[in-house]
Amino acid sequence: MATLSFAGVEKRYGVVQVLHRVDLEVADGEFIVLVGPSGCGKSTLLRCIAGLEEITGGELRIDGRRVNDVAPRDRDVAMVFQSYALYPHMTVRENMGFALSLQKHPETVPRVEAAAAMLGLSHLLDRFPRELSGGQRQRVAMGRAIVRRPKVFLFDEPLSNLDASLRNQVRVELRRQHAALRTTTVYVTHDQTEALTLADRIVVLNGGVVQQVGTPDELYFEPRNRFVAGFIGSPGMNFLERLEDHVVGVRPNDVVLGAGPHEAEVEVVEKLGFESMIHLRLGEEALVARVEGATPTGRVRLDFARAYRFDRATGERRG
């Protein structure tokens, strides 16, 4: 268990800078999710923690120890790869025990068996990775990390190769594991739902720059700029450019239909069972509202329960 500390961390490949002055403190036992669109630098940041990428500027500390020049194997971190990176020529047992067997750890066998029991892998221990399903492989990859009891867990989009129902299931599982082990965890995903459901705190990255760090609620209710507001929450926030001097942002569930200062036309209605998505046209702009119960037709009047205002030029929040 450990703290993580980033101070002005930068990463550049030649002239291309992929990470700009990242400052972040991760508390012991915290579950941090790095989220952002693809190419935003989140995986690079993760690999910097692992030591698989060298930091070209700033300082990274694990548990107070400066690790800029420490080899990956001496950092005591474990990582679950997107591809799982299971050793194809080893059984599940050997895969999970590999790290400990390298140290000739006396508890290799019991720890592997305990982790396998915890993950429901006990009956698969002597199989090879190629004989496992996607979900099973994912659990082996997690098991391999758990067995080591590292200071930090790193996850690199571990659910992206699973189908939707399995993904939900594993998400809950992950949360449960974390509750049990309380190991400091850094988790990378591009899926904001995963971020919101898993994280103690979320780091939103865009273009190598940290946009905002905060709890899921903070990010959802108090986004610092237009990018965070648009990225977090599903369906995304409506941005109305022409209503005021600032850009007005309204979450679909903050659109109140029936009465109010604005009038819009209903274009499409998506029925989702319990709720519906109403696609509206307000002047020349499109707007989505999320409503429960009866769906209107034709022209409706509407109001905003809550609206955010962003600077037209910089995207900074103005109110």
């Binding site: 692992a50 030591g51 698989l52 080899a71 990956p72 971190v77 474990a78 990176a85 050793y87 390298l102």
Partner: protein, 282 residues
């Protein structure tokens, strides 16, 4: 996949059969010469022996030297020793070099790759005498050690090249996982990479083995004693300047080819996978 039409099946099998017959025809000839009890190179269309005897084989296998020790056995042992060590050394050198060339983009890497390939373009004709001088200077003349050194070095360029190609297909994150698991570079190489590259290593070793197993000019020049000769040197002696013992030659040829052919059949699957980097499937 739909099942193919009857015509396609028939044509495919016919084509395969015809080409296979054409392929083994000359080999049948060697067998015929080996089994026919005369020393002549007899030519006819029929590739099957009309009379069969193992005379040639016993003549080849039964050679003894002046002191009565069993020459063939000794030479077979020499061949196995030289080829085996050549394969082991060549592959060892090539594995580490191929891995470094595959994984690390160090300064001069591309030039080094090019240099390995360039050596394949050296015509061998001019190299025998300088090699002789060099081994003489190193004091390795007339010894198997010298011959093994030369053989394993000549196998290194192709071996490195082939192994590098295969290493390229092994996903990088396996090594990263191993590194995070606490493995050093060397441990990662020996515990993760080498086991995964087994098909390529087997094929490369087979190639190196064959190089040494079939070579006779350098062996005859660099070895000083009949008891140190490898089998191809002896085999080539059967077809001399003035007379040729074709029967013995063919029998010897079969004996020489058998181990390699057997290795080919055993390693068939690896051969297919290891030559072209089929890729490691998780």
């Amino acid at each position: 996949m739909r099942s193919p039409g009857l015509a396609r099946v028939v044509v495919t099998h016919a084509a395969l059969t015809a080409l296979t017959v054409a392929t083994i025809f000359p080999v049948l000839w060697v067998v015929k010469m080996a089994l026919t009890p005369s020393s002549t190179f007899s030519m006819s269309v029929n590739p099957f022996p009309t009379e069969v005897s193992l005379e040639n084989f016993s003549a080849v296998v039964g050679t003894h030297d002046a002191t009565g020790s069993w020459l063939f056995g000794r030479q077979l042992f020499n061949s196995l020793l030289v080829s085996g060590i050549t394969a082991a050394m060549g592959v060892t050198l090539a594995c580490t070099a191929g891995y470094a060339l595959s994984r690390w983009n160090f300064p001069g890497r591309d030039r080094m790759m090019a240099a390995f390939l360039l050596t394949q373009m050296f015509p061998g004709v001019v190299m025998a005498i300088p090699l002789y001088l060099l081994l003489d200077a190193l004091g390795l003349l007339d010894s198997m050690a010298g011959l093994i050194l030369v053989y394993s070095t000549t196998t290194v360029p192709f071996a490195t090249w082939n192994l590098k190609g295969y290493f390229d297909t092994i996903p990088k994150d396996l090594e990263e996982a191993a590194m995070l698991d606490g493995a050093s570079r060397w441990t990662t190489f020996t515990r993760i990479i080498l086991p995964l590259a087994r098909p390529a290593i087997a094929v490369t070793a087979l190639f190196a083995f064959m190089t040494a197993w079939n070579e006779f000019i350098l062996a005859a020049t660099l070895l000083g004693d009949e008891r140190a000769y490898t089998l191809p040197v002896v085999l080539n002696g059967y077809v001399g300047e003035f007379s040729a013992e074709w029967g013995n030659f063919a029998a010897g040829a079969i004996l020489v080819s058998l181990p390699v052919t057997a290795l080919f059949f055993i390693l068939q699957r690896q051969l297919v996978e290891g030559l072209t980097a089929g890729g490691v499937k998780g």
